[in-house]
């Protein structure tokens, strides 16, 4: 940028650049000399002498010159900075004034941006808190989750037995510490017994996670031995809710399952492992001699410098050595090295969030598409203003403002707008995230770590600035694409030139394309979700209430005594008004728990040489279970009270299992047994298969045994009722307490809730994606309407002339519509292309829907295209009404 001398004088800008500064310095020095000479001359000193004298007194001229140069260069730097700051300040003032002059535009633009940026930031809060933020434990990168795997047995992820746990803890030097944990319920005794969610952990649990207690201390291996289970560590939430945060809680004795347990510590608020609803941690009472019972989850801290891969190698060796010593585990003659036996060591963070990673990334992408549409929308608004402001810009150009200067001014305006939108968006995100995390609509891992934190705010700022630059490009194109000075008159006349129209066309196509992509992707996910919701689970959860009824261990220690209780309870409950049927079951569908075991069918070969022993899901029920859940019995009979201890051991299998051996389902009378048990069970019935683990995956083989022959105290009452479930449930609870007052009855939930929870992540994806797509379509429709209106109003004069020389109004309508249709076709085609790419990418989120589902790929794009064309109709009709006289008079 060079300035003419006139400019320099006008604004008193010092000469910049080394050459200019040097000239200034020399001027100044000679001024000093001249003044000195003049003074001497005034005193009557002759010219030559005065000159010599002045020079002598001056000092070392070249050194002075250097010093003056240094000073000047610093001044020049400061001056440049000041100038720049001044101009930015002026631009900002001007931008704010301009925006205040058109409040409707400003409000609409800021709101549009706020929605786009707010949604983007809200989803980023989830991504940030769940996927990016490191776990809140010391050196989280050293933490790994641990499990075993025996794929040949269908045990893709196999938990640990107590023996397993001790052998890794003591034998794997790659781990600094190693712990197991298992979720259990215990009953807190007192006036109103209460069921607590407890995590039983092994001694090194707190050491692995490296978190110090808030109060008191934690337990270690010394407290974790069989039958020394007498200390407890509370979570922050439980401490608050049950002790009001009292600091003297340490030392309190709790009655847990009838045993006195002393509180020794309280964990800090942020501690939420493995799940945030844990209330109390108790030592497991590890008994390394217990070889069976694989129920422990594993978590470990790698020794310093050890990689996940090294730990995996070492533990797999330990695992195989152990397996070689387990004749029951391996088929005869097979060594562990020839099987797929391996350990699963995974970074803890990725293990925790593995199920939600893809949905979250898809949501983030979707919301960014929506944001782009919002940006295109604001760009359209900007364009329409830029056309209207052509005169203002031309005037400023004529007054000497350079194109860069005008461009910068316009860009400043866009960025101010974007920042306003960003601030409003951040507020929306903050509210949204707070409501979302507090609502409990969905359960996501690490939901407690989700908040609008500085990183989210920085992201919001960055996104806002990017938006500002993006939609600032449109008016820039308008302003800078035009020659400055001579156009005042023309600018006024002709708001739309070729360049501007091209910008608008790009905007229409982009908005339509993006919303088609987003809508089709959302359509696929929505369709999947509908399929999931309508999936026949094999049972009907509606109208069924599940009441967990854990029997007090002390009284029912010998499981068998639970049987008379169930019989009395069922007799009483079934006689209550409103109850249609009732039964007890060990594992409620979708409760997250599942028992599996290996099995043998009589007359079929035992586990073959390849080591493939089939696994079956086992469950224990009372008579009436199948009727209560509406599970059809395809063959044979239900259990009866006659199936009891001492009578013929019986079982009911499901269709999946039966079909494998008896394609005609004639399984009744055949015999099977569990591999760990020598008793043969006679099959008395075949039930329909039920999906009770995951809606999306087909059922595994099941077998049911009657409680009278397989007693347990771990029971849930399921009740199917007519009418008011709440009233019935209350009556049921009173009845149960009448029989056994020691049962805590606070675990009451409709069975539908269990199923719903299983669909949580998918529901979140569906709801949010659907909302974003809808929003995108709305924004796009408004945007397209805006562009077409603009297009028409810019050509009012042309249409007026056309009609003045005899064009039919219908011809004008057709002209506008054909333009709109052409744009719609291009947009839809590009959008479908985008959707094809997107659908491949979201494939894993789809269920029972092809990634090229014809419905989503035809109906939705066509509908959107039609919407686009429809939004041209109004402007087209307006064009046809253009009054030739009005149009021409505007000249």
């Amino acid at each position: 940028m060079t300035l003419t001398p006139g400019w320099r004088r006008l604004f008193r800008i010092p000469r910049v650049g080394r050459r200019g500064i040097e000239r200034d310095v020399d001027d100044e020095l000679s001024f000093h000399l001249a003044m000195r000479v003049e003074k001497l001359r005034d005193r009557g000193v002759p010219e030559e002498i005065a000159n010599a004298e002045a020079l002598a007194r001056f000092g070392d001229a070249s050194r002075v010159r250097d010093e003056l140069l240094t000073i000047d260069q610093q001044f020049a730097r400061e001056a440049r900075l000041m100038d720049w700051l001044d101009s930015v300040r002026a631009d900002l003032r001007y931008a704010i004034r301009t925006l205040r002059r058109s409040p409707v535009f400003t409000i609409v633009a800021v709101l549009t941006l706020a929605i786009g940026i707010g949604a983007t930031s809200a989803i980023f809060s989830l991504v940030n808190g769940i996927l990016l933020e490191p776990l809140p434990y010391a050196h989280p990168e050293q933490l790994v989750s641990f499990a075993q795997s025996y794929p040949e047995k269908g045990l893709d992820s196999w938990q640990l037995s107590q023996e397993n746990l001790a052998m890794y803890r003591d034998g794997a030097s790659d781990f600094a510490s190693f712990a197991g944990f298992a979720r259990r319920g215990v009953t807190l005794g007192g006036e109103h017994p209460e069921r607590l969610t407890v995590e039983r952990t092994t001694g090194e649990f707190f050491q692995v996670l490296g978190v110090a207690p808030l109060l008191g201390h934690t337990y270690g291996n010394a407290e974790d031995t069989p039958r020394t289970n007498s200390v407890a560590v509370l979570t922050y939430a439980f401490w608050q809710s049950h002790f009001g945060g009292r600091r003297d809680v340490v030392g309190t004795v709790l009655d847990l399952d009838g045993e006195p347990v002393t509180v020794i510590g309280v964990m800090p608020r942020s501690f939420a492992f493995p799940r945030s609803d844990t209330q109390v941690y108790l030592p497991l009472g590890l008994d390394p001699t217990r070889r069976f019972g694989w129920f422990l989850g594993g978590v470990a801290r790698l020794a310093p410098g050890v990689t996940v891969e090294q730990a995996h190698r070492q533990t797999t060796q330990i695992f195989r050595r152990w397996a070689a010593d387990m004749p029951q585990l391996l088929p005869p003659g097979i060594v562990p090295e020839r099987t797929g036996l391996t350990t699963l060591v995974r970074p803890l963070q990725s293990a925790i969030v593995t199920d939600v990673r893809r949905p979250l990334i898809v949501l983030q992408a979707a919301v960014l598409l929506m944001l782009l549409i919002a940006v295109a929308n604001v760009a359209t608004l900007q364009s329409s203003r830029a056309a209207g402001r052509a005169r203002e810009i031309a005037v400023r150009g004529a007054l000497g403002a350079t194109r860069t200067r005008v461009g910068r001014q316009l860009l400043t305006e866009s960025i101010v707008l974007a920042i306003l939108g960003g601030v409003a968006g951040a507020a929306l995100a903050w509210i949204g995230v707070r409501e979302f995390t507090a609502s409990g609509i969905v359960t996501l891992p690490r939901l407690d770590d989700v908040r609008v934190d500085p990183r989210v705010l920085a992201f919001t700022l960055l996104v806002s600035l990017a938006c500002g630059v993006l939609f600032g490009l449109a008016p820039l194109w308008h302003a800078v694409g035009r020659r400055a000075t001579s156009d005042i008159a023309r600018a006024q006349r002709e708001g739309s030139h070729r360049g501007a129209r091209r910008v608008n066309n790009v905007l229409v196509v982009a908005q339509l394309g993006l919303s088609v992509t987003l809508l089709v992707a959302a359509g696929l996910v929505l369709e999947s979700f509908q399929h999931l919701v309508r999936t026949d689970l094999g049972f009907d959860p509606r109208g069924v209430t599940a009441i967990s009824t854990p029997l007090p261990m002390m009284k029912y220690g010998t499981n068998a005594s639970a049987v008379p209780f169930t019989e009395t309870a069922l007799r009483t409950v079934r006689s209550l008004p409103g109850v249609r049927s009732a039964a007890f079951v060990q594992v409620v569908p979708f409760s997250g728990a599942v028992n599996t075991d290996g099995y043998l069918i009589e007359g079929h070969a035992p586990p073959s040489a390849t080591g493939t022993e089939k696994q079956v899901v086992t469950n224990v029920v009372t008579p009436g279970f199948f009727r209560t859940l509406n599970i059809t019995l395809l063959r044979g009979r239900d259990f009866t009270t006659a199936d009891r201890d001492g009578s013929l051991p019986v079982t009911i299998v499901d269709e999946t299992l039966a079909r494998e051996y008896w394609p005609d389902l004639n399984a009744v009378g055949r015999r099977m047994r569990l591999t760990g048990d020598t008793t043969w069970l006679t099959i008395v019935g075949v039930a329909r298969s039920v999906r009770d683990e995951d809606v999306a995956t087909p059922s595994r083989p099941h077998m049911y045994t009657p409680i009278a022959q397989q007693p347990t105290t771990w029971l849930t009452l399921v009740v199917r009722s007519d009418g008011d479930a709440t009233a019935t449930t209350d009556a049921v609870r009173r009845a149960i307490h009448g029989i056994e007052s020691g049962i805590p009855l606070d675990g009451v939930r409709p069975l539908t809730q269990y199923v719903d929870h299983a669909l949580d992540t998918r529901r979140m994806t569906e709801i949010l994606l659907g909302a974003f797509a809808l929003m995108a379509v709305l924004l796009a429709a408004v945007g397209i309407y805006g562009v077409m209106s603009l297009y028409v109003s810019n050509r009012t004069r042309e249409f007026g002339i056309r009609m003045a020389v005899g064009a039919e109004p219908s011809r004008v309508v057709r002209l506008v519509l054909s333009e709109g249709i052409a744009l719609a076709i291009v947009g839809v085609v590009l959008g479908v292309g985008g959707a094809l790419i997107a659908s491949r990418w979201i494939g894993s989120l789809l269920y029972d829907v092809s990634a090229h589902d014809p419905l989503a790929f035809t109906v939705l794009p066509i509908a959107l295209g039609a919407l686009a064309v429809a939004s041209c109709v109004l402007p087209a009709r307006r064009a046809a009404k253009s009054d030739p006289l009005v149009a021409l008079r505007a000249e």
Binding site: R12, D27, F58, G59, V64
Partner: protein, 119 residues
Amino acid sequence: MAANPRSFIPLRPVEFLVLLALADEELHGYALTQQIDERTGGAVRLEPGNLYKVLKRLVADGLIAGTHRRAAPELDSERRRYYRLTRLGARVAALEAERLETLLASRTVRSLTRRFGTA
């Protein structure tokens, strides 16, 4: 950025004179020498050789700065750069003045001037 004004105390006499001269008005280099000349009754004559050395040091320390406001173009040549006191410079000058005041208020100084002073 926020330098501690105390770290500049004591100032050299000539630095203090420059700051004092700029306390009332913004001046260019030549006018500065004139001002100091007048203020000291001709006792201190700053030749350009010294002047710019002092100015450079004061600019580098942030006690004085260049100014963007200048006299109207027709009244003055645009070639000359003007200097002004910065906030820091003003605080340093005030501190130095206080220091000198305390020094001058001492009994020794008073008895000295009574016995040997010219007034």
